[in-house]
Symmetry: C2
Subunit: 231 residues, 2 copies
DNA sequence: ATAAATAATTGATATTATTCAATATTTCGA
DNA sequence: TCGAAATATTGAATAATATCAATTATTTAT
């Protein structure tokens, strides 16, 4: 993010997500009263797995890495979140804790929204709730893909999945890779950092990817997809 | 399931899920018009991954195994669904296909509900939608647990997770295990059938579980949890 | 600009888990 | 009830992957 002069009023927020468009002005005003906006510096932890979840978070501007922590001090990277995405939506119901951790990959402006207020809106406004459900549908599909990748593919396929995900056009790739380490890439694939490095070198030698400093560029996407499918 | 004389009218259905309790009588009547009830025999496929999803399914009475299929002809078992649970809820929005397959573990009575009608109810009734979101919150947590299990644990920990899940009181265990093969147990853990068999024998020898025909009984739950945690 | 800290790379080895093969057991239909 | 088919079990060989150790490159803080 670059601009911190961005308005903090929900009514004319340009970074708003699809679901907020379903709110009527009075509801937007209501939610505006119930939120605070906070700036997280690059590297700061935005939410911590297991911690008490007082708020649902919304990225008003920034880039965030979402990951699961395991007791053995290893992480599983789940996804990269961009501006206009929620963090910790699922803490709204159920247990009062965050199911994952999130760290700012760049300076990020985050809206903290009171869970109670969000719940009220969900109950009052079915259109709003439906948009949230839409989000959950897409989210579930993504998690199933992760499970398929981890459950049945071996290293090569898993790394291919990671690269295909990270190289998606929807990310500013140069930017993104400059903020990710080999360990991050390994943690997306759930392989050791050393294996990630070795496999990346292999892919480079076969002309499937190009390593330009930290940036990874896919040269032969078809073959990478092939590797992903083969597992 | 035992009784097929069960009423098929949503208004006095005793197998209804929490969310339907949020519907007003006219809405229940509406949904009653928009559903059909079908009996699936044991072993029959209720929904197929990738197939066109015309309906959202609801188990009015039965027991169902939900699993992901991978191209290499291997399956990942996700969960066992019981009476009053939805199948394929996420096909309601997004792509018009089922993200997973489901098979009847016993003769099961399934309600097929028109997606369009369900969408209407979600838009009209925020309380109903909120209950669905509650379900998604719990569902997400479960999927994260699966990801943690697959991503970082090795065979022992993964099998322990499977056994702890399957031996939960919420299932009729004798019944359940009689319907699951070693392959099923392996597919929950994403390990080979042979490995599952070997590890079960190990656990038996160490007095952690007891093998009684097809039924598996946990003797030393504390140690099994230990194994699960250690990974 | 430089030293210290961190991250990336590579090779050798050890561990983990699958596959293949052979045998035993159970289930199921005629 | 019998025999075929499916499922379960066990062992040995092989493959996949992590770990450990050493080295090089990069980043960061002074």
């Amino acid at each position: 993010m670059n601009d911190f002069t961005e308005s903090t009023n929900c009514l004319d927020c340009t970074k708003s997500s699809a679901c907020f468009k379903k709110l009527i002005p009075s509801e937007l005003e209501f939610i505006n009263q119930k939120k605070t906006q906070i700036l997280y510096k690059k590297g700061e932890t935005i939410c911590k797995q297991g911690a008490f979840s007082s708020y649902v978070l919304f990225i008003s501007d920034g880039l965030v890495k979402l990951y699961l922590e395991s007791p053995n001090n290893k992480n599983i990277n789940i996804k990269i979140l961009k501006t206009s995405e929620f963090i910790g939506l699922s803490s709204i119901y159920g247990e009062n804790i965050y199911n994952y951790s999130a760290v700012a990959l760049e300076d990020s402006s985050i809206c903290l929204i009171e869970k109670e207020s969000l719940r009220k809106l969900l109950n009052d406004n079915g259109n709003f709730a439906s948009e949230i459900i839409k989000w959950y549908c897409a989210n579930e599909k993504q998690l199933f893909n992760k499970i398929k990748s981890l459950g049945h593919k071996q290293m090569h396929g898993r790394l291919a999945d990671t690269l295909l995900y990270l190289c998606d056009e929807s990310f500013n790739q140069k930017e993104l890779f400059s903020k990710l380490s080999r360990q991050d890439i390994a943690d997306f694939s759930c392989i050791s950092t050393e294996s990630a490095v070795r496999l990346l070198a292999e892919l480079k030698n076969e002309g499937i990817i190009k390593l330009e400093g930290k940036h990874i560029r896919i040269i032969d996407k078809a073959r990478l997809i092939e590797i992903s499918k083969k597992g």
